[in-house]
Symmetry: C2
Subunit: 520 residues, 2 copies
């Protein structure tokens, strides 16, 4: 036979491919204050897999059309929008209460909401209630790997306003939600066998997603305020490549606000210390922060006050938010993952990643040969809601509303815990953000603490709770190191989606379970 | 410091992890004829990365709730649907013409279409036109990694009807479209350094997506009927592990119908031969088949007849379809990728993968820690259209419509080519499916064929076309082996989304370019 089989070694030997530093995709939108400098050179953090990504030659084609729109194209293999059977999409969305409704700092529920209807049409028809400039033909067609430019512009403006990045060449790109963003970012940063720093407890899906990439995970102990900076420093400072059989970690993953499962939020001072360590030891920080806007006021038992305090103005709201790792980032070493899942709806499968242009470009190359872009229908509805119905200021009003609603839910659970859990053997910290309460149980006070291990106590309590018809998550399930020993007995309870009467009943039952088990 | 940092080697040494064969996720829906046996054992094809995927311990939690719905759950970290601001979504879709409208076998355009409106509500309101049983609260919430069960049921029924899988434990899972499905399937099958078989020309994004996975690609020559089975057999039969420095390929990727860019469709007999080779040499076939339903009748110049023939009945339509590789598959070695991008709309970012349960389970594990599921809003609209507005039979009517529309577009282009391109130096095969015509140009007849290489002739013609304001894709851009020599001069033209007058004008200009270049 002819040996013309195009046989080609794309990648052997597996050496570090050359990497061309790329320019920013686009300038950031409306920075709130002029950043002083560009990000430092951090392309050495990019994995072998990610270095092998190339821009498609077909993308060159579109540059001809951009330069001269009079060119007739037989090039792009797009289907014809005339043959899309979806003729029109409409959505009705809630309107957040205006800032003025909370001038007294008290939350009054959602009685003032009105609805807003948007309509997306292939023929740009409009309704009496509202019409969308967003062309449905475009929303249904192939989109760039960045996601919809119009929606991205809104998100960049929002990001600039909230996080005020301190370097100039930052950018955003859309993702299919934070789980998708994590896979993308981890693949860009981690080579097999490398160490990665995390909190000691994590959402199991995060570890499940990392495992196939074969990193080695280091869980840093968490206290009431989240990841301990002193332990982080100790590990980085005293890293022993020989004993560890590997280099010092260059990637750190963290959920700094309302951490899942511990509910912990890292305060400003500790954040600054952690960022300084990352800068000193050249770590890239993956800031997974879906609960950022669910930061709540201090817990006060509802026997004491009968209302939930809310920020009077959006400025006050923003000022009270703990600074994100992104906002502290002068080097361009934070990759911030934002999601609509916790603040709008998970079903949108839509989020965005913010970071230095050198990283965002690699993610774009991945998007183009992976998901491509989030659902165009999702993006159309989000764009209509965020820009046409709401706008930047109203989006903050929505987030204030949401924060108040979740505060009520948190307080119902904490009230029930105060009332029903045996104080002698339980302790917890009222979460300052998120959806979770982390309950620690005494091991030493358990009647059979000599006979049973901490894990066995936890398992027994879990089973007793199930027998009493309460499902509550054992802490062991969240350990980054599944096989290592536990240092205490923990349970995670969530207050996000449970009806108030069910929360009270479930906590009461769990209290009974504990009293029986601890023979109180 | 305390050495309690949870340091853990997840994956070192990088050896083959144990793999537990898993049971089917669910039984296939309504098989049309009772399949005789289960798939053969093929789990040895699964990559190291994919073997490392584990089911999350959190999923165990939901099994308690399934068994006893009276259990109160403080477990799942879901946001509250009451706090999703999207209150209602509605869509209006085209209704395909009924089967009866084409009893004479002639296509009459879309004059008979009516619209159907669906409404999805968190409170299940309904309109006078239609209402959806699909709960918007569900569509906006987290979904299983399989995608929506209701939509998947429809897709499984459709797949059973069209492809009639010949083994019993097949299943389907949803993807974010075929590009996303490719990344998922390739990661499941390919270890770095392994050889993968493809067609000699491919969509560049496919190669761009494979490159970071570091396979070695073998492009099999393509003739008018697609991938040559004789060359495939030769390569597999005479594989020399020493000379090739690697094992015989165990994965083959193909676009068997309306291939991009060659437009070729493999006939039944050659498909059977290729499948037999895959079975003999233990290959897994990735069947990427977005153009399957765009199979068209033989081209007849419109000077000869003035109508487009259409199948009189859906049975006739189905009988005329070339059998898919999936339908020939007795072993469970075909992974079929179906997409809505070419038959509904790319913006849905929604498709599905069909294959043996052992593979589908691995994909599910990946989905759970990646995209999770396609947009819930996309799935709601698709479900409403496919099941509530249309149903299985009407979906086939839609596909017949679409096929006829694209046949008209193909014929406009082929008519223009017949009329305008210089026959002395050009040749092409009328495509039997898809969106592309592959035009071969004579190298030997080019005035400077001794001086210029084939690639240089192609590049010169490409630039001359741009100067004449026509963008048409050079064949070299699609070569699986970018660096190897070309055996001819090719261009790809697409007729899918271009207006008829623009197609005629663009082809006329390209004809002029060729006549000037070839001095005709």
């Amino acid at each position: 036979m002819s040996p013309h089989d195009g046989s080609q070694s794309i990648s052997e030997p597996v050496s570090e491919p050359a990497f061309d530093t790329v320019s920013a995709l686009s300038a950031p939108t409306k920075p709130m204050s002029a950043p002083v400098s560009v990000a430092v050179e951090l392309s050495h953090h990019i994995s072998t897999e990610s270095r092998l990504r190339q821009q498609s030659r077909l993308k060159m084609a579109s540059s001809f059309l951009t330069r001269d729109p009079s060119i007739l194209s037989l090039a792009a293999g797009l289907p014809s929008p005339a043959l899309f059977p979806i003729e029109q999409v409409a959505a009705r969305v809630a309107m957040p209460e205006p800032e003025s409704s909370r001038a007294d700092g008290k939350w009054k529920g959602d009685g003032l909401r009105k609805n807003f209807t948007m309509e997306y049409s292939k023929t740009k028809q409009c309704t009496e209630l509202g019409r969308s400039e967003y062309d449905l033909s475009r929303a249904l067609q192939y989109e760039q790997g960045t996601g919809s430019r119009k929606l991205l512009d809104f998100l960049k403006e929002h990001t600039a306003r909230i996080h005020k990045p301190q370097y100039s060449d930052w950018d955003c790109i859309m993702s299919g939600g934070n789980t998708h963003a994590m896979e993308t970012v981890f693949r860009m940063l981690i080579n097999p066998g490398e160490y990665v720093i995390m909190e000691e407890f994590a959402f199991p899906e995060t570890v499940d997603g990392l495992r196939p990439l074969r990193p080695r995970l280091i869980g840093i102990d968490v206290d009431a305020e989240g990841m301990r900076a002193d332990l982080l420093e100790d590990i980085l400072e005293n890293w022993d490549e020989v004993a560890r059989e590997g280099k010092r970690p260059h990637v750190m993953y963290m959920v700094p606000t309302g951490q899942n499962p511990t509910g912990a939020t890292i305060g400003s001072e500790r954040r600054e210390k952690i960022y300084a360590l990352a800068s000193k030891f050249d770590l890239v920080i993956v800031e997974d922060d879906p609960y950022y806007f669910l930061q709540m006021p201090a817990y006060v038992p509802h026997a004491t006050i009968d209302y939930v305090p809310v920020p009077r103005t959006n400025e006050e709201f923003q000022a009270a938010l703990v600074p994100s790792m992104l906002s502290l980032d002068t080097d361009g070493r934070v990759l911030r993952l934002d999601s609509f899942s916790k603040v709008i709806a998970p079903g949108t499968r839509c989020g965005w990643i913010t970071g230095a242009a050198v990283f965002i470009e690699r993610i774009l190359r991945h998007n183009e040969v992976g998901l491509q872009f989030p659902s165009g229908i999702s993006m159309a509805v989000l764009h209509g809601m965020l820009t046409e119905a709401w706008g930047q200021e109203m989006y903050l009003n929505w987030l204030v509303n949401l924060r108040a609603e979740y505060t009520v839910r948190r307080d119902v659970m904490l009230d029930a815990m105060e009332e029903n859990l045996p104080k002698e053997v339980t302790s917890w910290v009222a979460p300052a953000a998120g959806m979770f309460v982390w309950i620690e149980l005494s091991y030493d006070r358990h009647p059979r603490h000599g006979t049973l291990s901490r894990e066995e106590v936890e398992q027994e309590l879990f089973e007793a709770a199930i027998a009493s018809k309460v499902l509550i998550m054992p802490g062991t399930w969240f350990k980054v190191d599944y096989s290592g020993p536990s240092r205490s007995v923990f349970f995670r309870a969530t207050f996000a989606a449970v009806a108030q009467e069910d929360v009270r009943e479930a906590i009461a039952r769990f209290g009974d379970v504990l009293r029986r088990a601890y023979e109180i």
